[in-house]
């Protein structure tokens, strides 16, 4: 399948998996992914083929399943059905290629830990079981902190950081994971202008380094500026492809302009039948 063409609905699923027409491997390949909480589907028949080396925005209304899509890819929520592949192999075998920035609100910021120690968590899988975080790794964590402009706050307890600074150390922790594919859950939410700029600079650098980055995003005004690939989501993939092709009024209306009534009713019916 041509990576520049919008992928929508189950039509694409009949194609051969995980590579485009030129035989290039997809960074992320999803087939027939359905996720349900208490039997109520949150994601429905998701098919995606995203080429490598793009910064891909994931947009959609509240409850569209944006975070769930990321969590499903990372195996953090159970799939009702479907397959997820990273560079042509099942996710479980490719964990080391993946980096993750969870939502900032998902952790307890009163946890007794400082910025440097938090960033060093991204190195744990390199360090391996049982071993301590040695000076070499501490230096790498410090470098990552410097990358996000926070070297002087390395010893600061994390509750004493501003929201933007907290977001930046989350990003630094993902950077030291040294992944090929990144998933970032709302990194721009509630951050100051300086942090926003820092994040954009990092996205830019990751793209230049050939990494693939997925970013859950809310602000439609900045879509053209930040991303070169876009996944428009509302329980299913409404449209996905290069921003220039898919970011159209028609697609926006289909994504945000109320859910498809038939699908909605089917979901409600399933919710009731339990």
């Amino acid at each position: 399948m041509d990576a520049t063409a919008p992928v929508s609905g189950p039509i694409a699923s009949e194609q051969t998996p995980s590579s485009d027409a030129d035989g290039n491997r997809c960074a992320l390949h999803i087939r027939d992914l359905t996720v349900a909480y208490h039997r109520k589907p949150v994601l429905w028949d998701v098919d995606l083929d995203v080429p490598p080396s793009v910064v891909a925005g994931i947009v959609g209304p509240n409850g569209a399943g944006k975070s769930t899509l990321i969590k499903a890819v990372l195996d953090l929520v159970p799939h009702a059905s479907g397959t997820v592949e990273i560079f042509g192999k099942p996710y479980r075998k490719q964990r080391r290629l993946v980096g993750y920035v969870p939502q900032r609100e998902s952790v307890d910021w009163n946890y007794p830990i400082n910025a440097l120690e938090l960033v060093a968590m991204g190195l744990y899988r390199t360090i391996g079981w049982f071993r301590r975080v040695g000076p070499v790794y501490r230096r790498r964590a410090l470098e990552a902190l410097a990358d996000v402009g926070m070297a002087d706050l390395a010893r600061r307890q994390i509750s004493q950081l501003s929201g933007g600074q907290q977001q930046r150390i989350f990003l630094a922790r993902a950077l030291v994971q040294d992944a090929d594919v990144y998933f970032m859950d709302e990194p721009f939410s509630g951050v100051d202008a300086a942090t926003e700029k820092a994040i954009i600079a990092i996205l830019q650098r990751l793209r230049e380094a050939g990494k693939t980055v997925f970013v859950v995003h809310h602000d439609l005004e900045t879509v053209r500026e930040y991303f070169d690939y876009l996944i428009m989501l509302n329980m299913r993939v409404v449209s996905a492809g290069p921003v220039a092709d898919v970011f159209t009024p028609e697609n926006l209306r289909r994504t945000y302009g109320g859910r498809l009534t038939l699908l909605d009713r089917a979901v409600d019916a399933m919710g009731r039948s339990r």
Partner: protein, 443 residues
Amino acid sequence: MIADRLMRVLTLADYNTRVVMFGTVMLGIAGGVIGVFLLLRRRALLADAVSHAALPGVAGAFLLILALGGNPRSLPLLMLGALVSGLFGMGCVLFITRFTRISQDAALGIVLSVFFGFGIALLGIIQRTRGAPAAGLNSFIYGRTASMIRADAMLIGTAALVVVVVSVVLFKEFRLFTFDPDFAAGDGWPVQRLDTLLMALVVAVTVIGLQAVGIILVIAILVVPPAAARFWTDRLDHMVLISAGMGAIGAYLGTGISALAPRLPAGAVIVVAHGAVFVVSMLFGSTRGVLRDLFAHRTLARRTVMQNLLRALFECEEAGRGGSVESQWRYLTTARGWIDRELTRGLRLLLHDGSIYRLPAGAWQLTELGRVRAARVTRNHRLWEVYLLEHAETARAHVDRGADYIEHVLGEELVAELEAALPRFGKVVPASVHVIGPAGGSA
């Protein structure tokens, strides 16, 4: 006589005291260490459910052993029963939470009360069974520390050793998954298995603690020392050490006191001792203690009043209204909106601080030192305002509030950064960006 007994207890001269002391102190250390991770995982009440769910296991094991003709007082077997039903209770909580829409607190309440009620009912049956020496079983509810024998103490010691070793070896892994389980799982760590291991250690400490402190109170040795330790440090490794130390101290004090006054049940006294340590930590803790917070808050509040008044006096002079006491007072109260009480307090602080003095006619005047300070404060305030206007796109009307709030916490570094960002001002005090007075909303 009393002094003699005190010495015997403190120096552990008696064999029995020594055994009990060893057991309770090791239990305190084990609870203190693993409790830190339990607390940070936000599962503290799950341990309470486990301990309560252990009661039917104890009673059931007793009945089973009796039916099979064994010795129903055998502690290891009773503990095995406690372990099985405690784990089963925990499984019920996790099952209910995961597969229904009942929230975890409700699930805990259900399991805790139903299991405990079932256990009490079984105890009733046992007491009516003729020939069953049931007296010992009640001690599981409130604990009977004094009945601890050497083998029990050794069991507790072994368990404590396991807990400490695992916590040290898996320190990094425990920290990772208790802080951010989603990230840990995405990073490829077996979060489920680590969680199971943590809870298994918690259950182990709970079960071996049943005899010493009892079902109802055992939660305290897991929760109170870690919570107290948190007031003293922002570092996890230190928190674990402090918590272990506090667990040991509480156990030592509690056991010692109850040895001196044998009618006091040791388990309860240990928990009260933990409570005392907690209260002291909460008040005087060096990192998050209440007094430290109050003091820091007071210092900031005082500095804020002083800096605001310094700036007001400086701008009063600027406006040429500092001449007479009447015009000065009118400026401060009407144009700047100071209320009398606040103004009097601020003036007293500044006077005490050597920043102002009073002219014979009654008007307040900045001293030389005060003028330097006032100029600096005013300058920082206005630099910050200009910065906000130019770099943060704040609406003009909101500038002063933002500047008022933040300027009092500006460090030297930040001021230097401000100067670098706004080089055109050099070292002078820039003009205010808004009309000072009621129209500008300034205070």
